[in-house]
């Protein structure tokens, strides 16, 4: 069965629509809403759902395929791949730094101790891993 994708796109954002789709689907996979082996909607289907040009969806799917998050099966469509890392260690570090900087920027003005923040982050990460291992079982 085709997985249902619960992503929203907004126009007027500094992130291009194709990037919003890539980020959105990546998150759906990370949270387990799209488990391994799930089928992605067709290009046309997602384009209709989001009311955008189908070429934009195709571009996003191309990017997700290049990142190894999804893989095509001949004549059947795209499926969520087995988790594996395609990014170099250097690239991963770079992305982690970017993400941490954005996060720190968001929490810097809040009145929490560093310890409280770390506890919350740990909770969220544990939950994410829980979701992933749950989806691995089915």
């Amino acid at each position: 069965m085709t997985g249902t994708i619960n992503i929203q796109i907004v126009t007027g954002d500094a992130r291009p629509i194709f990037k919003q789709i890539v980020d959105g689907i990546r998150m759906e996979i990370a949270t387990g809403n799209l488990p391994q082996g799930a089928k992605l909607p067709s290009v046309r289907g997602l384009a209709m759902q989001l009311m955008i040009n189908a070429n934009t969806v195709a571009k996003a799917y191309g990017e997700l395929t290049a990142q190894g998050l999804v893989e095509p099966r001949q004549g059947l469509g795209l499926f969520v791949s087995e988790p594996r890392q395609l990014l170099s260690e250097e690239e991963q570090k770079k992305r982690l730094t970017t993400a941490v900087n954005a996060f720190v920027n968001e929490v810097a003005y809040l009145e929490f101790e560093a310890g409280d923040v770390l506890t919350e982050v740990e909770k969220a990460l544990t939950k994410l891993q829980g979701a992933n291992s749950a989806s691995d079982k089915d």
Binding site: T11, F18, A47
Partner: protein
């Protein structure tokens, strides 16, 4: 791939006014190409010359591989055109107009027509005078797509449509099953629509071509800088890639084209105490290009 539209040094002068200036553009077959430009940027002049209605002052225009000044009827039959007014004979019934159009176009595809009409609520027995603007737009689009054109020019087709009709129009345009690889030229001032539909973005300003790339590549050309200048901004004509500028709360907000991160260094070397780079969206990037030569209160300072 076949070239759909090709102009070289196309120029049109009306008396002292230059409507189009040394305009060189190439559009390949296929995809949706959005054209944006202020009123008077030369869009209509460009179409009129492409369709052979107006003669160029100099330069050349080719449509579907044929010189626009000598278009054969067969080539004209492969071109669809929908204008913003959706002008149709008011006294005719929807059914009669459709039948008439059908007789003109040998490639007419009735199932495309029916699918598009399905997005709108058009009663075939209704006279055009009794149709709403949205229904007329739907009827027009249905006929234009059913003639299975190789090129379809849509000149601000959603102007004045309500939210529902606009959505139906875009859905019918993008998702109607078609066999032909129609090249769609889409003129609009609605950035939200352009972001949703465009494969390529063509920007025209004062009769000149300013951009022809994907919308994402276009946005990437523009960068937004905020600087705190103790002694004011350097002269605008010396700022590389300068587009527009505003002063907000004493800070200078500058939009520039085709500058990298080293532009921040440039600003610092020219008196900025602090510099920050912001993200831009499509609307801001387009506006920056279109307002470049417009007079603003700032530009007189």
């Amino acid at each position: 791939m076949q070239t759909c539209i090709e102009t070289h040094g196309l120029t049109k002068r009306y008396g002292k006014k230059t409507a189009l200036k040394d305009f060189t553009l190439e559009i390949q077959q296929g995809g949706i190409h959005a054209i944006v430009g202020s009123n008077g940027a030369g869009k209509s002049t460009l179409f009129r010359m492409l369709l052979g209605i107006t003669t160029p002052t100099s330069g050349s225009a080719r449509l579907l591989g044929q010189d626009s000044r000598m278009l054969a009827p067969e080539v004209r039959g492969r071109v669809g055109y929908v204008n913003e007014e959706h002008t149709l004979p008011l006294w005719m019934k929807a059914r009669q107009i459709t039948a008439q159009q059908k007789s003109f176009y040998p490639q007419w595809n009735q199932s495309i027509h029916d699918e598009v009409i399905g997005y709108f609520d058009v009663d075939p027995e209704q006279k055009v005078a009794g149709l709403s603007r949205g229904e007329r737009a739907g009827l027009n689009l249905a006929m234009a797509l059913a003639q299975a054109p190789d090129v379809l020019i849509l000149d601000e087709p959603t102007l004045g449509l309500d939210v529902v009709a606009r959505q139906s129009f875009l859905e019918a345009l993008m998702f109607t099953e078609r066999e032909a690889n129609t090249t769609i030229i889409y003129c609009s001032h609605q950035m939200e629509e352009i972001e949703r539909v465009a494969d390529q973005l063509i920007v025209m300003e004062k009769g000149m071509l300013k951009n022809n790339s994907s919308p994402d590549e276009f946005v990437a050309r523009v960068s937004y800088w905020v600087g705190d200048f103790a002694n004011g901004l350097p002269a605008k004509n010396t700022i590389p890639g300068y587009l527009t500028h505003r002063t907000i709360d004493g800070n200078h907000h500058i939009l520039v084209a085709d500058q990298g991160d080293d532009f921040g260094q440039y600003l610092k070397q020219n008196g900025a105490r602090t510099v920050a780079r912001n993200a831009v969206n499509l609307e801001r990037a387009v506006n920056a290009f279109l307002t470049k030569n417009h007079n603003t209160p700032d530009s007189r300072v």
